[in-house]
């Protein structure tokens, strides 16, 4: 087992990894930028190394600085968290050559899954359902036109190397095709240094459903069921839950089995998440895989009782899945879990809200979990992402989880900065959300509805 792990991250996920290490009796090294000197991950680690100025590119993304910090502290392994260097195959490689264990899949698997089209083809070969789409990269608008006819409009083109919505265009008719294709290509080239595009069938009202997997170093991969992450705004997830109201036990088993086979073949190791879109008929279509722990991993932990971050560490150290995950826990999820992402943002305008937290009162009690690195009198720096806390509720069923989340949101008090807490309170009170009637366009409709209500209120009071 590792004696000491360096956490190449910050915020709540750094603290999450520190918790897992402490519970395994492993020493921890925090790295931090000048802006994070007073952070909790620095406070609670056994050692801490300042690796650079506030900007991520000069600190948390600075591979030599991170590796040097690991070397001078005699670290055995590095946990990359999510974001930052977590899906950087180059970083995983440097770790390997520096004799430091990277807690994640091997670099070549990270690289394979990082190229969307290759990942699609890998999935397709083992019969994981993928969206109807182009095979390989599309070079020209002409070629794209042919594919579109074959797939059927509407279609969507995406950047092979992409993410976050860039290099992406929905095309509903042939007349739009050439213009959209060319601008997507240009955008992709600018954003990722790679203009490669591929095409997929476009689903008008998809649900975003993803499967959590774990793989050991002995060729075994298991699925731990799904998470529903359809509540998004501009491709940013706001709220996740498990299980999905739309996934039957049969579908869960079927997809889980296919994923286990496919990923074992690919040589997948450690934790990962396979993302699907669900179409209006309830069928799942693979879109991409994230080769790291996910922000929303807690909902899976709550319903399976499995500590995913501890599992990551144990698997990286060579443990067998059969030894660390009792057969009992593998089937039969228990209850329902919901996670609300509490961001330091204005709850209506979504503008970031950095600054000093004056009051920070977290809710507690039965079925409530809070993952956070924020604290009263602490400062949210403007340099990093706006997630400051994850509020997770667990109940015997979805209704109980919702009621519990509602009371926890009422009791979660943050003063000094804006947060998305009021937004989540409104979502939880929404009959459509409560009935499970949503898809990835939900937030657009929901925000429009809120806006309309405000307008009407103003009209009434005028």
């Amino acid at each position: 087992m590792f004696k000491k792990i360096l956490i190449a991250n910050r915020g709540e996920i750094a603290l999450r990894v520190i918790c897992a290490c402490k519970e395994l009796g492993i020493k921890t090294v925090a790295v931090y930028s000048d802006a994070d000197r007073n952070s909790l991950h620095v406070r609670f680690a056994d050692e801490a190394v300042c690796i650079g100025p506030p900007r991520s590119s000069e600190s948390y993304l600075n591979i030599p600085a991170v590796i040097s910090a690991a070397e001078i502290t005699n670290t055995d392994a590095i946990h990359p968290g999510y974001g930052l260097l977590s899906e950087n195959a180059n970083f995983a490689e440097v770790c390997e050559t520096s004799d430091i264990k990277f807690i994640g899949p091997p670099p070549e698997v990270i690289r394979l899954m990082g190229e969307k089209e290759k990942a699609r083809q890998a999935m397709k070969r083992t019969n994981v359902p993928i969206l109807p789409g182009s095979e390989g990269v599309i070079a020209t608008a002409e070629e794209a036109k042919e594919w579109a006819i074959q797939i059927g409009y509407p279609v969507i083109v995406k950047a092979s190397a992409g993410g976050g919505g860039r290099g992406m265009r929905v095309i509903r008719a042939e007349t739009e095709l050439e213009g959209s294709f060319n601008s997507a290509q240009a955008e992709a080239a600018a954003a990722f240094g790679n203009g490669n595009l591929y095409m997929e069938k476009f689903i008008e009202q998809p649900r975003h459903i993803e499967f959590q997997v774990l793989g050991d170093l002995h060729g075994k991969v298991i699925s731990l069921g799904e998470r529903e992450c359809s509540i998004q705004r501009r491709h940013q997830k706001l709220l996740e839950e498990s299980p999905s109201t739309q996934v039957t036990e049969e579908l869960r088993q079927q997809i889980g089995k296919k994923l286990s086979e496919c990923l074992a073949q690919i040589g997948y190791v450690n934790a990962g998440t396979v993302e699907f879109l669900m179409d209006e008929d309830g069928s799942l279509h693979f879109i991409e895989m994230n080769t790291r722990i996910q922000v929303e991993h807690p909902v899976t932990e709550m319903v399976t009782g499995i500590d995913l971050v501890k599992s990551q560490i144990l698997l990286a150290a060579g443990a067998k899945l059969g030894d660390i995950i009792p057969r009992l826990d593998r089937k039969g999820q228990r209850g329902h879990a919901i996670e609300c992402r509490i961001n330091a943002e204005h709850p209506e305008k979504f503008t970031p809200s950095a600054g000093k937290i004056k009051t920070f009162h977290v809710p507690g009690g039965l079925g409530i979990r809070v993952d956070t690195a924020a604290y009263a009198e602490g400062v949210i720096p403007p340099y990093y992402d706006s997630l400051i806390a994850k509020l997770i509720s667990h109940g015997r069923d979805r209704d109980e989880a919702i009621m519990r989340m509602r009371r926890a949101l009422e009791m979660f008090i943050v003063e000094g900065i804006h947060t998305t807490i009021p937004l989540h309170r409104r979502i939880m009170a929404d009959p459509d959300f409560q009935a499970g009637r949503f898809d990835t366009k939900y937030m657009e409709r929901f925000l429009a509805k809120l806006q309309e209500e405000r307008v009407q209120l103003t009209a009434v009071s005028a």
Binding site: A30, V49, I51, T73
Partner: protein, 170 residues
């Protein structure tokens, strides 16, 4: 308000035990908060920052200390400062621009680049920091006299850690 007025004002505020003072001239805006809390200097601050004090062993202590189980409301000085000796005069600090291992000489057994009392020029190599098997020469960013070497040979140093105290020549 000129320098002199400002100094007077500050002295006056101290004398009168004023702990907070704000002023804006454009359309006036005053804010004054009196002592009592003064003793509690970082008064409201005390809430968490105490707890935030660098409990974990900083990298400079390569021999890790026991886990920070204690809630030590330890010194609230920034981590690196722990290494810095009490400085009576205002010295210039040459800080480490990278994380790595500090070497005072170009090779094992070779004489140190500099020693206390040496006069150095801006741009002159003061030490080597090894990071990822690469030897990085660290140059002085000021001209003056080396007063103290704050890191020891073979010791790990972090970003921003003071390495040399210099009496800068103007």
């Amino acid at each position: 308000m000129n320098q002199k007025e400002l100094k007077e004002l500050i002295e006056f505020l101290i004398e009168k035990d004023i702990s907070e003072f704000e002023l804006e001239r454009g359309d006036v805006k005053v804010r004054i908060k009196r002592g009592s809390e003064a003793a509690a200097a970082p008064s409201v601050v005390s809430v968490m920052p105490q707890m935030m004090a660098p409990a974990p062993a900083q990298v400079s202590a390569a021999h890790p200390q026991p886990a920070p189980a204690q809630t030590a409301p330890s010194a609230s000085a920034p981590p690196a400062a722990a290494v810095v000796p009490a400085v009576e005069e205002e010295l210039h600090m040459v800080k480490s621009p990278i994380v790595g291992t500090f070497y005072e000489s170009p090779a094992p057994g070779a004489p140190a680049f500099v020693k206390p009392g040496d006069q150095v020029q801006a741009g002159q190599t003061l030490c080597i920091i090894e990071a990822m098997k690469l030897m990085n020469e660290i140059e002085s960013d000021a001209t003056g006299e080396i007063v103290k070497i704050l890191a020891s040979n073979g010791q790990p140093v972090e970003y921003g850690q003071p390495l040399f105290a210099l009496r800068a020549r103007k």
